[in-house]
């Protein structure tokens, strides 16, 4: 384990021991088509069409895009470039999906078949990046992959979805890792787990004893060790610059949720249309981990864990990197690991002058100097701004979080990125 920069944030993992519960079917779902990296998917169903669970509703438009599947059975009421609205009826699955309970352990032999299944299933990086998994796993000949890292860390406070997934679906995740191992032609996968999540470590260690090529590593979970490049630094002491891909250095990183979906896609022919979402926060009476279908409105989900009327602040994603939502019908996408509800709206704190304490710079995981970036931006010194490399920022938000003068440094860095583009 190597040293990374980062901070300890009160992690509030209140739903850590809550089992995954099916959130059920809302009356209407709004399936987003553009939440992943790359081109938005193109709708292939029109208004009035009947769909089942697992019906292809939008097709990948280019190589860097994904297929989108219906998460419910019902009738399409509206389609546009970004959203497909479906009025739901009783659950009917597509025939190709294997809905049986058992765990399948025999991995298909053909690498092309595995990759094709992953591509077809529309799997995206579920840690929040939303990068198409099939594109990530389509390794050119020139890259030599040494290790597959499966990221089971959840840096965001409140998030426990991945933790529960590892506890309850440990074997599926390990088989998923072996599928990727096979695809990459290696026998070396590391599942990185927060050392505080002892249940998950125990469950995974129990399973990995029976399988070759998958190991578990308990990692101290500072924020933002869960970020891809930070995790690699932590595990291997290798620093990957923003301009390079992890595969150029011989590593592939996948989130546990993604690996679980890959298992489902390859073994059960089940495309990606649902995920585990933590619903938590001080306005949630009963914080829980839900199995949520893509496109479920936030209000429906919030009401499952409490009452949306108690929440003055709704955050889709985590408190550090997520998005505040004002429309209660905002759909939960496949990238959102959590929906947080709080009793108090965020206070608008007024920024005071920088006192040059250096907290933002000393704790920046990529060693930027946020205070200087903000200064140079204010006076419009673009050449200097370029040298400060705001584009290396990973948006973790530590600078804004720590600043005692309450300066929104992350916002300035984002503006600086625009400025030098």
């Amino acid at each position: 384990m190597y040293r990374t920069t980062g901070i300890y944030i009160k992690n509030n993992k209140i739903s850590k021991y809550k089992e995954i519960v099916d959130a059920g079917v809302p009356e209407v779902v709004y399936i987003p088509l553009d939440r992943h990296v790359g081109a938005p998917a193109k709708p292939v169903v029109s208004k009035g069409a009947e769909v089942k669970i697992g019906t292809l509703v939008a097709k990948a438009d280019e190589t860097l895009s994904v297929n989108v599947y219906s998460s419910v059975a019902g009738k399409v009421v509206e389609t546009d470039d970004k959203l497909i609205t479906i009025k739901t009826s009783e659950d009917i699955y597509e025939k190709s999906i294997d809905t049986s309970e058992g765990i399948i352990t025999e991995i298909p032999d053909s690498k092309t078949l595995i990759l094709e299944k992953i591509r077809k299933a529309g799997i995206v990086g579920m840690g929040g990046a939303g990068f198409p998994a099939a594109v990530k796993l389509d390794i050119p000949e020139t890259c030599k992959i040494e290790c597959l890292v499966i990221n089971g860390l959840e840096g965001e406070p409140y998030f426990t979805a991945d933790n529960r997934l590892m506890v309850e679906k440990a074997e599926e995740i390990v088989i998923g890792a072996r599928i990727i191992n096979k695809l990459l032609g290696i026998q070396n996968a590391i599942i990185a787990v927060d050392e505080e999540n002892k249940d998950a470590v125990k469950a995974l260690v129990g399973v990995t004893k029976r399988y070759i090529g998958v190991n578990v590593k308990a990692v101290k979970n500072k924020y933002p060790t869960a970020a891809e490049t930070q995790l690699i630094k932590k595990l291997f002491n290798v620093e990957i610059p923003k301009t390079k891909l992890t595969r150029d250095f011989g590593y592939i990183v996948h989130n546990v949720g993604t690996v679980y979906s890959i298992y489902n896609a390859v073994m059960k022919n089940k495309p990606l249309y649902e995920r585990i979402v933590t619903v938590s926060g001080d306005a949630a009476d009963n914080p829980q981990n839900f199995l949520v279908r893509a496109g479920t409105p936030a209000s429906y989900l919030a009401n499952k864990a409490g009452s949306i009327d108690n929440a003055r602040l709704l955050i889709c994603g985590g408190v550090m990197m997520g998005t505040e939502i004002s429309d209660v019908n905002t759909p939960i996408s496949l990238l959102d690991g959590g929906l947080l509800m709080f009793k108090k709206a965020k206070k608008d704190t007024e920024a005071s002058p920088c006192i040059r304490c250096g907290r933002c710079s000393q704790n920046c995981p990529v060693h930027l100097q946020p205070f200087e970036i903000a200064d140079r931006l204010k006076i419009g010194d673009t050449p200097k701004l370029y040298k400060l490399r705001p584009s290396d920022c990973i948006n973790c938000g530590i600078c804004s979080y720590l600043c005692p003068a309450k300066i929104p440094l992350l916002d300035f860095i984002k503006m600086a990125k625009e400025q030098i583009r």
């Binding site: 406070p157 250096g358 000393q362």
Partner: protein, 333 residues
């Protein structure tokens, strides 16, 4: 559809105000010791200095800089206490006000207020007074526990003055010199603070309590105080090994008495006037240490902390420039 309002949605409780409050709390032991030993006069110096700093900062921010009332961040109080800390306990109060004027108006607000000053305001104020009123600024009252109302003020030399003027060659006999040196306070008195000196510098124990409080609250890191005092200690120790008068270079005496500890813990750690990175702060602290030793040994002044910190303050932008952190993933492998 959804309006994006910027993350992060939680922020740390630490604010400029809470940091300043922590510094004030850390200075309470030293204030208590000085009032206990120097009595009412020390208290009046502190109160005058703080009041003057707040009033001047308030007036400057309202009428001159036309900003919001900045005194709410408590930084003026910190400056006021620190200024009082490096003044003699019986300094005439009008001089204290002049010191506050130099600190707040000339050194801080003229540069644009909090976070923009180049030099440490309290030290600049103190240094001005020291140069303008050299007699009053070196008249150190003797501590007296039983005389709160200051009926009977005796003044005495500080330990550093005693060793500065001890000299074998000019003393009539070696015996005289030894007798002279016997007026040095012992280490116990120095640790507790029962010695002559400026208001805040006397008690090592009180400053250490403040230091550990600041470390515990993560307001400062250990780098600056440890490297500063360590540098002075080591150089003094090395010099004393080859000296005919080791007492002059007694490293314990140099660290325990005088303003070194006060300066190292409360002044050289000032955010605004010290470098940003840990490595930069180490360079800064070592520079302060070397300058302090040079001034104490080679100049006419017995005390070198204020000058050395002010000189190093001027180097901060340069140090910052050369200790820029290496951006993740560059310049290695």
């Amino acid at each position: 559809m959804s309006i994006r309002i910027n993350p992060p949605h939680v922020i740390d409780k630490t604010s400029t105000k809470s940091i300043m409050l922590d510094v004030i709390i850390a200075m309470i032991p030293a204030m208590a010791v000085s009032v206990l030993f120097f009595g009412l006069n020390a208290m009046l110096v502190i109160i005058t200095s703080v009041t003057a700093c707040i009033a001047l900062e308030y007036m400057c921010s309202i009428y001159w800089l036309k900003t919001k009332n900045n005194t709410q961040d408590l930084s003026a109080i910190v400056t006021g206490i620190l200024l009082a800390f490096c003044l003699p306990g019986n300094l005439p109060l009008w001089m204290v006000i002049i010191g506050a004027f130099i600190a707040i108006v000339v050194t801080k607000m003229a540069f644009g207020g909090l976070g923009r000053n180049i030099f440490n305001p309290a030290l600049a104020g103190r240094t001005f007074l020291f140069l303008a009123f050299p007699v009053q600024m070196t008249l150190w009252p003797k501590p007296n526990l039983r005389d709160f109302w200051n009926y009977d003020i005796k003044t005495g030399a500080t330990a550093l003055e005693i060793i500065k003027y001890s000299d074998v060659s000019t003393s009539a006999t070696r015996l005289d010199n030894n007798e002279y040196l016997s007026s040095l306070p012992d280490y116990y008195d120095m640790f507790i603070g029962y010695i002559s000196g400026s208001v805040g510098e006397i008690s090592v124990a009180a400053i250490l309590i403040g230091f550990f409080y600041l470390l515990y609250k993560k307001v400062i890191t250990w780098h600056v105080p440890v490297f500063y005092m360590g540098t002075v200690f080591l150089i003094m120790y090395a010099v004393s090994l080859n000296s005919a008068e080791p007492i002059k270079y007694n490293s314990f005496l140099h660290v325990l008495s005088g303003g070194l500890m006060l300066g190292a813990v409360f002044m050289a750690t000032d955010y605004t006037t010290s470098p940003m990175t840990a490595f930069g702060r180490i360079i800064f602290a070592v520079g302060c240490g070397v300058l302090t030793v040079l001034i104490r040994l080679n100049s006419v002044y017995m005390e070198g902390v204020a000058f050395s910190i002010l000189i190093m303050n001027a180097f901060v932008p340069l140090i910052d420039k050369f200790t820029k952190p290496r951006i993740f993933g560059t310049g290695r492998k």
